[in-house]
Amino acid sequence: MTPTAIQTILHALTLSLVTGTPLLLAALCCTPLQKAAARFLPCAAMPAFLAIFTTPINVVVEVPWFFMGSRMGLDETGRIFLCLTSFIWFLASFSSHNLLRKDKGKTHYLVFFLTAMAGNFGLILARDMLGYYLFFAVMSFAAYGLVIHKRTADAAKAGRIYLTLVMIGEVALFTALIILAHNSGSLALEDIAGVSHHPLTLILLFIGFGVKIGALPFHGWMVPAYQSAPIPAATVLAGAMVNAGILGWLRFLPLGQTSSSQGALLFVVAGALAALYGVIIGLSRKKAGAILGCSSISQMGLMTVIFGLGLLDYNAGISAAPILILYAVHHSLAKSTLFFGYELIERQSKPLSHLQMAAILLPALALAGLPFTSGAIAKTAFKELAVNLGEPWYGLSVFFLPITAMGTTMLMLHFISILRHSKSTGTSKNAEHSVIFPISLIATLTIIWLWPAARHSASHSLAATTLLQALWPVIGGCLLFLSWQRISFNKKVPVGVQEKQTGFEALLITATKLMQEKKWQKPQSGRLHSYRHRLIPHLRRTEKIMGRWKVVGLSYLALCLYLLFLLL
């Protein structure tokens, strides 16, 4: 065997291990070995780290027999996403470990958690459409088990909405993929580049991945799901899995190689609306998980806008792609840190200390774009993009960005105040998990600064004007929040939006009612039956008449004469 062959095999092995290890552990969890397997839960993400460091960029391993011909590999984007994702999964698995101590539905949780993890890793490694789709589906459906893990009525409802939307997304994605595969004539992701996109494909892809990131009409699942899932699960949903949607867009509508002005408009409008909408509904929520969900809707809306701007033309695409990735990394880290912080209150027996509060405040304000945080860097990059694009985008961004920043600030402060007022329910004083939050926090605060690709934006964000620009919305948000809180706490704002049926649920119920069985049933067979019964006496009578000698004789005669006539 040549060294290259051995290398290829080694790479294939590493890449398979990335998805294989969680799957294997999931399988083990169904067996009596569950206890041992659960102990190895944090190890499930290890091969992903291994792959990040050993597998060279742009190596593609072909596994032709698997599924419809599978290709795996790591490219630049993939590596970043794998880094990010595996980090969050790793932390979440630690935190799950604690959660599981006294949980009855341990097996279910472990299986779904690990399967979702495998799906998430797999889709990052996939270099063909169907591989992506496969792992995306695995991840989405496995996450359903996480959403409804608590088995409360709320969880069930959240699960139902989630499943409905996931299904819609799957179908849209499936349709889009068929069209893409048909147009490009190949399943490889690389071949999508040159394909001209039909508007329909754009819409379908928007729906397909938009469901995952909670893009506007498909956001319904996010809030209830974050709220009812166990916190580690919500963390991965918010920190890791949402990125699958962004990555999906990047894979199937590669920025810099795709342009569509109509598509851009769709993405920008939907994203901008989501960014505002998330903030508005978030302020009416009373639960920390829900507020984080609303914040995700809003933040993902911003990313949608970035993506939409990237679709404007090729150059915009080339500059938008790294910004989008940057934003995704920033958001994921910050959001998962918030979740880990939120988790503290569920774990520990005493209320949050001031230090802890301050620590949670940091990632929260990072989301709002507080200077010196990752958020500031991301926003600076965003602004630069808008500058490059020129009018009218620049003008709009000047108007738009501060508003969202203010909104996010308000939302985050709302979150903190909710945290402060909520009671601690946990009993644990375990040091092990108290490590998670600091690690995550440190990562949030430092990684972007250390990241070479972001260095340019990072240095720009330190400029005085930028600092000021970033600061005033945060301060404004704080002030607004304080005044709003005064009003709302006095008036006890009714939490109406929360309990209503979502649109999809209402649709589903109506559809089911429409299809009542009774309307479709035909009373035909009964009628036929009675006809038959009415016919029988007639048959009997006719046969009787035909048996009379006179009738027979006459027909005999007639037949004879007729034959005679015919034969003569």
């Binding site: 599924f67 419809m68 799957e170 068929i178």
Partner: protein, 498 residues
């Protein structure tokens, strides 16, 4: 006779002879009967695999028996028949094991297994039929052999269902006979192997040939349960679970679908049909059936009835794929769904039978939390159901993928639309079952807990669905490998030169 002909005959005899012997086996000799059944089915699989190998390497299997001038019986092993025969034989083995467990202790088992074996013999006969007359022969015999199975319970309801089944099936058979004779009067006797008649007939008899095509499709469409000829299928659910499994996954419904494939690909041939322009009709009916079956399935609370309507919907994928005969990808999708649907549906029916047999659960509303009591059964069920929806990497996705690609290649965007809507509808009627059973809370005691033991149910009932569920995933995951249903279907399509 050469060895190839002996092989064909012994493939048929390997279930026919055990079947005949089983009729004479006394009721209480349980072991002997089971042994006969299993030996027969394993032998059959071995023989069919031998035939498959032969076919792959280009050997021609053929045996003829002339009856009268222009009418001859012809058994012919070609790649297409190998596909169906292999599917039937493998699933037969599993269903036999399942049926042995299912009917443990119930009366009239010799009778049941006798007909069971005959039924499979006939199904294999349909697979191997080399011309329309032989096909018709086995097609009619299939009705005869499945009828006793449907009315096996002997209740008034089952008799009623059986009667309706007969009326539908024989009417279809009669129309088919009429069409076969009419076709033969025009184009003379033809074998499937000739792949379509000379297109000069189109110039002279276009209208008649189109009408005959419609009649032929009606004839086989009854068994394939195309709307509006589907009425018998949901009623036939009164039969015992292994029978339903067999009817839906292997024998009856598939025989109809297989007939459609034969008619389109072999009797008429792609070129002729394109000239006649009747294919959109088939595609349209198939699409309507797909949607109608799904919508009706939504309304059912009885689990088996829901599955029945789902069958109606799913089988028409085959017809849909075949109706785009000039698109190799669509044909691949249709053909491979023949196998895939069988695997998935048999899993679902096995599981439904397990629920009924173990806990007395027949309705979906009784299924809350059942997965905690029967996790393996429900795991298999879930895999089958997800496959039906088309979630990768199950086999269901593979079929849909090819169908969609083929539809686009033909420029028929509506095919993709139908697939999308149908997937959604499938999800609407399968996912609630899954969520209920896995995550629902058990409401009171089970309707009728019939089995309590070491495993969740009898091992003979549990193994077959697990095996088929495994195949559902495995066959999807290795779809592109050298040996897989998809690979074989590609081989078939290459043979047709599409």
């Amino acid at each position: 006779m050469n060895w190839g002909q002996w092989l064909l005959v012994s493939i048929l005899l390997s279930s026919f002879i055990p079947g005949i012997i089983i009729f004479g086996v006394p009721e209480e000799k349980h072991r002997l009967r089971t042994g006969l059944n299993l030996c027969g089915s394993i032998l059959k699989i071995v023989l069919i695999l031998a035939m498959d190998t032969g076919i792959y390497f280009g050997h021609n299997f053929e045996i003829r028996l002339p009856l009268i001038p222009g009418v001859e019986l012809l058994l012919n092993g070609d790649p297409l028949s190998a596909l169906f025969a292999t599917l039937s034989s493998v699933l037969w083995l599993l269903t036999t094991i399942y049926a042995v467990g299912y009917l443990e202790g119930s009366p009239n088992r010799s009778h049941f297994f006798g007909y069971f074996s005959l039924c499979v013999t006939v199904t294999i006969g349909i697979a191997l039929a080399g011309n329309l007359i032989t096909f018709l022969l086995f097609y009619e015999m299939l009705t005869l052999t499945t009828y006793p199975l449907i009315i096996h319970r002997g209740t008034e309801k089952s008799l009623h269902a059986g009667r309706n089944y007969l009326i539908y099936a024989f009417s279809g058979g009669a129309v088919f006979l009429f069409a076969v004779v009419a076709l033969q009067t025009i184009i003379g006797p033809t074998d499937f192997a000739t792949t379509g008649f000379p297109s000069s007939f189109i110039d002279t008899h276009a209208t008649v040939l189109a009408v005959i095509f419609v009649l032929l499709i009606i004839g086989v469409g009854v068994k394939a349960a195309l709307v509006p000829l589907h009425g018998w299928l949901p009623q036939a659910m009164v039969a015992p679970a292994p029978v339903s499994a067999l009817l839906h996954a292997v024998a009856v419904v598939k025989a109809g679908a297989f007939g459609i494939i034969r008619i389109v690909l072999d009797v008429y041939g792609a070129q002729n049909l394109l000239l006649l322009g009747v294919l959109p009709l088939l595609g349209g009916i198939a699409s309507i059936t797909i949607l109608y079956g799904s919508i009706r399935a939504l309304q059912q609370d009885d689990l088996k009835r829901r599955l029945a309507f789902s069958t109606i919907s799913q089988v028409s994928y085959i017809a849909l794929g075949i109706s785009l005969v000039d698109q190799p990808l669509a044909v691949i999708g249709g053909l491979v769904h023949l196998v895939h649907q069988g695997l998935m549906k048999i899993t679902l029916f096995f599981c439904a039978g397990n629920l009924a047999e173990t806990l007395g659960i027949h309705r979906i509303s009784e299924m809350d939390g059942v997965a905690r009591r029967m996790p393996f059964t429900m795991a298999a069920f879930s895999i089958g159901a997800l496959g039906m929806i088309g979630i990768p990497p199950t086999v269901g996705f593979v079929s849909k993928w090819y169908l969609g690609l083929g539809g686009l290649a033909a420029g028929n965007w509506w095919v993709v639309l139908i697939l999308a809507v149908s997937s959604l509808l499938n999800a609407c009627y399968f996912l609630p079952i899954l969520t209920r059973s896995w995550f629902g809370k058990q409401q009171g005691p089970w309707p009728e807990e019939l089995y309590v033991g070491r495993f969740e149910t009898r091992l003979m009932l549990l193994t077959p669905p697990l095996v088929t569920a495994f195949i559902v995933i495995a066959a999807g995951a290795v779809a592109n490998a050298q040996i897989s249903p998809l690979a074989w279907v590609r081989f078939i399509v290459r043979k047709y030169g599409l």
